[in-house]
């Protein structure tokens, strides 16, 4: 409360004279740390982990990073709008992958993509309306839509695995490479550039950041805050759909359980990248860096023979640690 009053007072009086702040490790870690940590992690992995620096492994890291990264750059919008996260990306990614493979087997790829797009819009709308209009808690809303979505998907698919044709367009997209870069990585970079442009250069992106840092002020400024939230969730849903397409194309199979762990991996990438979970501050490019960090870390654990359980523990701890550093840095810098 006092902080708010102080910031209001500062806004009225004008920027306080810029003083050179004494060096604070926590502030440095939360703002600049990720650049150093990612570099160190990659260098250490290249030196100490057998098989990390091979071309095959790097292509594999890219292949696995791409779908998670695409989801993460989209979900950055929800996090910046101070709505914590969208847990339902797990259901959305699996739905998009299953729809892509199953429907294109029955009819054709454009029909499959169109159906997946409609489903993605529906997810964005339901989550966005519940959170933006009804002001419900985003974690609880997306928890329930996860169960509803996965329930519907399993109900329709019967939990069965769908295989794409061996010579289809989906398969060739999943295998296509430019040098060591799989095509999915190009999609990720394109998505990052587009969404970064939306967040930093468009009116909507400005409103998302503004809503995240002070939702009451944004509302009182006459902004349709409901549309801002619906927009943020819709961007996440469309990103999750594209992530699902890429995931489905890469493995050329689809099953309702294929996206387990996407929720916390994407969240970890966003938070480690330096987007604040308290809202208002963050960037899509930083999320990309966070994706590299989380993917390399996961790859190191896989190469070291650590199982899914340990990976989950590590990433859970990583989320709490990154948020703790952010929170303590805020306290230390007095903002």
């Amino acid at each position: 409360m006092t902080n708010e009053a102080q910031s209001v007072a500062e806004a009225v009086v004008g920027e306080p004279a810029i003083e050179k702040q004494p060096f604070n490790l926590l502030v440095w870690m939360s703002s600049r740390g990720i650049f150093v940590f990612t570099t160190v992690l990659v260098v250490v992995a290249a030196i100490f982990i057998d098989g990390f620096a091979s071309l095959d492994n790097i292509t594999d890291v890219f292949n696995r990073a791409a779908p998670i990264g695409i989801v993460a750059v989209g979900m950055t919008f929800v996090v910046i709008s101070a709505n914590y996260l969208d847990l339902s990306v797990v259901a959305q990614v699996a739905t998009a992958a299953v729809v892509l493979i199953a429907v294109s087997n029955e009819s054709n790829i454009p029909a499959a993509m169109a159906l997946a797009f409609v489903i993605a819009l529906l997810y964005g709308l339901v989550n966005g309306v519940a959170v933006g209009v009804f002001k419900a808690n985003a974690v609880i809303v997306t928890l329930s839509t996860t169960f509803i979505g996965l329930g519907i998907l399993r109900w329709f698919s019967g939990g069965s695995i769908y295989f794409g044709p061996q010579d289809g367009a989906i398969r060739s997209f999943g295998l296509a490479k430019i040098g060591p870069f799989p095509l999915s990585m190009i999609v990720l970079i394109l998505m990052t550039l587009i969404l970064s442009f939306v967040l930093t250069r468009t009116n909507f992106g400005f409103l998302v950041r503004s809503y995240g840092s002070n939702r009451d002020a944004t509302r009182l400024a006459g902004v349709n805050t409901a549309w801002v939230v619906i927009g943020a969730f819709t961007i996440t849903s469309i990103a999750a759909m594209i992530g699902g397409f890429v995931l489905g194309a890469f493995s050329n199979t689809a099953v309702s359980s294929m996206s387990t762990g996407f929720d916390f991996r994407a969240l970890a990438a966003i938070i480690v990248g330096g987007t604040s979970v308290f809202g208002g501050r963050g960037s899509v490019l930083r999320t990309l860096l966070g994706v590299v960090f989380v993917s390399v870390l996961t790859n190191i654990m896989v190469l070291s023979g650590l199982g899914f359980g340990v990976q989950q523990m590590a990433i859970g701890a990583l989320i709490v640690a990154a948020v703790s550093i952010d929170s303590l840095a805020r306290k230390a810098s007095g903002t």
Binding site: V141, F147, G151, T225, G307, Q312, M313, V323
Partner: protein, 343 residues
């Protein structure tokens, strides 16, 4: 707000009718009661077996309700503990990994308490939002359950104790139901009659005011998270005993159902309002719903859809949500041209 108005109204008129009206206005269980009546009538018509086999239904209510009771203590303070479901799984696995039954139970309950303390530490000392802190804990513990159990169900060493535990021991009541009823009464007494428990409402209603009134807010939050951790561990112990094995993936449905029970029961997510009794009503209606759906042969996926819908409806029909939705709807359609009353 409405509570204060209600009290004033009662003092002005003082009649029996107005006093009843005040009592109703102060209650938060309305939605749970409505759902319970709806579910009960629908079940009575389509699947009355759910009531004649009431032991089964009560067992299901106890399963959903126990975790929800612990959760209520935390939500009353405006915090959230998402880690309850994986606390349940981890504590079950810990208990089954220890050969000595008594030692296993004690260890599991201790782990539950420690998880509560760690959650509260991040919320109170580090200052992270409890949603994110307990979400990280959820992922961490889910992984831990896999690691401890080597990714497969752990059999309980003393199977006989487990089988004995599933049998009725007080009339038709199984130990699970008795534990649930005891936990309900204990928590109900705690939050309505014990000073520390009543202060939970103050902490949730207005934290600044609670600080100023001299309430040890930090200690209350620690207590709340420890209650929810302990109760979740207790649920894990009961599950493990009844199934004579611990499943590391247990609890994903419990997460959904327990939140649905607490929120439909009228516990406000922003804290300060709600009751243990409301959570009981919520758990009862969900329990009947689940048993009725199972008896009609509806598959688990569809049950998850139904409970997910109940949770979604519960969270958007929150009294606070409904109040803001009118204003939001206006701004949604009128846009910038609309005149916004401030405040």
């Amino acid at each position: 707000m409405s509570q204060a108005q209600g009290i004033q109204l009662g003092q002005e008129q003082g009649g029996l009718v107005s006093r009843i009206r005040v009592t109703i206005a102060r209650r938060t269980e309305g939605r749970a009661l409505a759902l319970l009546i709806l579910v009960a009538i629908a079940t009575w018509i389509t699947e009355p077996t759910a009531f004649t086999a009431w032991e089964v239904t009560l067992g299901r209510v106890a399963l959903i309700g126990l975790v929800a009771l612990g959760l209520t203590a935390v939500i009353l303070m405006g915090e959230l503990d998402l880690s309850v479901a994986s606390t349940l799984a981890v504590c079950g696995v810990v208990m089954a990994s220890i050969d000595n039954l008594a030692l296993g139970v004690v260890a599991a309950l201790a782990v539950g308490l420690i998880i509560g303390v760690v959650n509260a530490f991040f919320v109170v000392v580090v200052g992270i939002n409890s949603f994110i802190a307990s979400l990280g804990m959820l992922f961490f513990l889910r992984g831990a359950a896999f690691v401890i159990s080597n990714e497969e169900p752990v059999r309980l060493a003393s199977r006989d104790a487990g089988i004995a535990f599933g049998k009725p021991f007080l009339g038709p009541l199984t130990p699970r139901m008795v534990i649930f009823i005891v936990a309900f009464i204990a928590l109900q007494v705690f939050v309505t009659r014990v000073r520390a428990g009543r202060e939970f409402y103050a902490v949730g209603g207005n934290r600044e005011a609670a600080y100023d009134a001299g309430i040890p807010v930090r200690r209350r939050i620690f207590t709340g998270f420890m209650i929810s951790g302990f109760v979740a561990a207790l649920a894990g112990v009961i599950n493990t005993l009844e199934r004579t094995a611990a499943d590391p993936t247990a609890g994903s449905t419990v997460l959904l159902a327990s939140f649905a029970a607490a929120i439909i029961g009228g516990v406000l997510l922003t804290g300060g309002r709600g009751s243990i009794f409301g959570t009981l009503l919520g758990a009862t209606s969900l329990g009947i719903l689940q048993v009725a759906l199972t008896l009609t042969g509806v598959q688990v996926d569809v049950q998850n859809i139904v409970i997910g819908l109940v949770l979604l409806l519960a969270v958007i029909t929150d009294p606070n949500s409904l109040r803001t939705v009118v204003g939001s709807a206006r701004s949604l359609f009128q846009g910038r041209s609309g005149s916004h009353p401030v405040g």
